[in-house]
Homo-oligomer: 311 residues x 3
């Protein structure tokens, strides 16, 4: 594996998922990454991703350097050919080439602006990193995808060993407008596994068709949840009315009553979660959310190991 920015970078996703679970079982501390540097660049704040990836790096013996880049304080120029006589201080192509020069693997978290779907879905910032980096790149979440989260989620589902599980991805309410990255990414990974997948969301919250073309969509949440083995919940803003949050009349919060419709289904969420908005306390207490968070470490380690082996 050279880069890890979407499922398309992975030759055999099922094999990678298996490796995550092997790492979880054996917790190997290797020296594979000795004298090698993992640089983690965050344009957006991060808790889980930073901690789990930093830990994964040290697990394989790497030196890990974290850079938090406050978009306000370090003004990056993204336009080719710009005359930089204003507030931007460094061109993205210079920054990436310089940083990657000090690293053996680089991770980067970029962000969606939720203004212009073309810009976000072209992955403007991540693409610059891929193009100008001299070393392999790991996405720590980008404008439209979050592959480390999805790999984690697949491993968590696989851990239960259910043959062709019914997996429901359900939209949930949220006070803020959020990107579609986690949902998009979940869908492009789940179709690589043997699962029956249902997507449920209110009208107006359709995702980009690229990710839903082979997915059953049900607008009635209660209908969708029936007999589910896993209920993956996430808020996202509208793709069609890009970045908007059209009003939703029904209550989409996941409750115990709704979970009772499932096949003793497990509730999943990538965290952080708005309690009693996305799901009730009771649902969260019985959920897989901490197991997912812990699996982030093993997913990151599997990715790093794969990249190191091919350096």
């Amino acid at each position: 594996m050279n880069n890890f920015t979407s499922v398309d970078d992975v030759q055999n996703p099922q094999e990678l998922i298996k490796q995550v679970l092997e790492i979880k079982q054996n917790k190997p501390h290797t020296t594979l990454g000795k004298n090698k540097t993992l640089g983690l660049i965050f344009f957006n704040p991060s808790l889980r991703t930073r901690l789990s990836t930093q830990k994964a790096g040290t697990n394989v013996g790497m030196d890990v350097i974290v850079m938090n880049i406050n978009a306000d304080s370090w003004n990056i120029e993204f336009e080719d050919g710009a005359v930089m006589d204003g507030s931007t201080q460094e061109h993205i192509k210079d920054a990436v080439q310089v940083i990657s020069g000090y690293c053996d693997i680089m991770g980067v978290r970029t962000f969606a602006n939720l203004q212009d779907p073309d810009e976000d879905y072209k992955e403007k910032v991540l693409s610059e990193f891929v193009e100008h980096s001299s070393v392999p790149l790991i996405s720590l979440e980008s404008a439209t995808l979050h592959p480390l989260q999805s790999l984690t989620d697949m491993a968590t589902i696989t851990e239960f060993g259910i043959k062709r599980p019914k997996v429901v991805l359900s939209w949930a309410p949220h006070p803020k407008k959020l990107p579609q990255a986690v949902a998009n990414s979940f869908l492009e990974w789940i179709v690589k596994t043997d699962a029956e997948t249902i997507l449920t969301h209110p009208e107006g919250y359709e995702l980009n068709e690229k990710f839903t073309k082979n997915i059953s969509i049900v607008n009635n949440q209660v209908e969708a949840l029936k007999e589910a083995d896993f209920v993956y919940t996430k808020n996202w803003s509208s793709y069609a009315h890009y970045g908007q949050t059209p009003e939703v009349k029904e209550n989409w919060t996941i409750t115990e009553d709704k979970m009772n419709l499932t096949n003793e289904g497990k509730f999943m969420h990538c965290l952080p979660i708005r309690r009693n908005v996305v799901a009730t306390d009771e649902v969260i207490e019985k959920s897989l959310v901490y197991q997912q968070a812990k699996n982030r470490e093993y997913a990151a380690q599997a990715v790093i190991q794969n990249i190191l082996e091919e350096l």
Copy 2:
């Protein structure tokens, strides 16, 4: 030792103080913590505590991860059952369970709000960490206690080998209103050692009785200082008029003249110190403040080693 949040977590404080001084003498670099992670979480900024604890962790071979959490940028929900549709993004119980999942030992610095004594003295934030953490917890200062500082101070006093020293804890002026944590903690540790302890402060600055019940209190600073072997100085705001700073007419700054009343007494302060407000330059130059700061490293190392040995 499982947690280290107050002297009550320590079975044998005298033995622990001895261990601090042994570590100082031998400066062992061990591999006791190899492949283990120390996570240090700061809600409040820190210089000494962060550096000394990070160094202590690496001294025993641990990987150390530091998270500075700006209370403004990462809005934590503390109320059980809250409907999180406002500005809080993550519930403390989720955050703590997730973070501790990546650590083998966790350190946390919390803070006093100085508004509501009940909330502070119940250690609302620290208690959530203790309750929800899956790994041992070290307080890096909490709302009402600072045990790593106190352990350091006891070791520093013990280093001088004075039999039953006279130790004076004196209030000092300060332009800001500060918590009572360092003073409270000093008192609960000093009573575990063989010392004659005098507490001196202006009227109105009484500490919580829980910490002063076996301590001699003298409101005349000059009287208190006579024949002291150690003069530990610190500002705190009022406990009775919680968080207030009633006016003080006399000058409580520690001067050379005052130090001349002591038994060649040593001046101590936890730093940072407001020079020529808490004490004059001359007093600070001859003081133990740098020795104390340096001993922070050995105190943290002793605590970490004790916890690692029982993991």
Copy 3:
């Protein structure tokens, strides 16, 4: 080597430059710094310097601790004898003694205020670090010098093996007023090598004579560039009209047409660079800027190794 704050701290600059290039060739990962701590203190934000020095430290086996000190959040008192009853929280002499107590080598980036040349050129902040540190000190750029950058630049020039190269240091336009540190430092290092050096800048942008007394100065940029082997470009504000930026009528941007006047000269810049202001995209694409950035790591490693060997 004890401290590294200017070329004057280096007994044999040519030898040190040679060591940088040997490290670049052999990329040794040593255990010279095992169980030793490198503390890097930044009063000003840093990308290249932080990453390259942190990497250099880990290359020699040191534990590296980074402290970003936001001048706003951690108010330092610089005046001797100050009565600290205002906004300053800690005296520089206390901070430095404490921090250095946890380190074996300390690096610090300070800054120019560009208000008062005396204060800047006395290196008020750096001097406090030198005076109060208990361990060797590396300047990560100071008010008036940037020796790690200059050592890097000398090594980059030396790499080309040109006998007595013609090196032109040219002023360039910039939308902000910048310090003279990089230019001053470049000049005090280049005179220690065997080079023909020309300094070119608009009238009003004369540097401090201390650095230019043996340097040829040409105010006509086109004239200066002729037959140059290396064109080192940098903006600086006026020294005579301290910190001012008198208007410049000619266009001082480095273009391909100007580079065509040189002896296939190489364009150099310390980065970050304002593209199409300091130099055009075309000039930068063919330049040595990424090679310089990468050499920062080896320069820092050479300095750290020299200091470690004499600890």
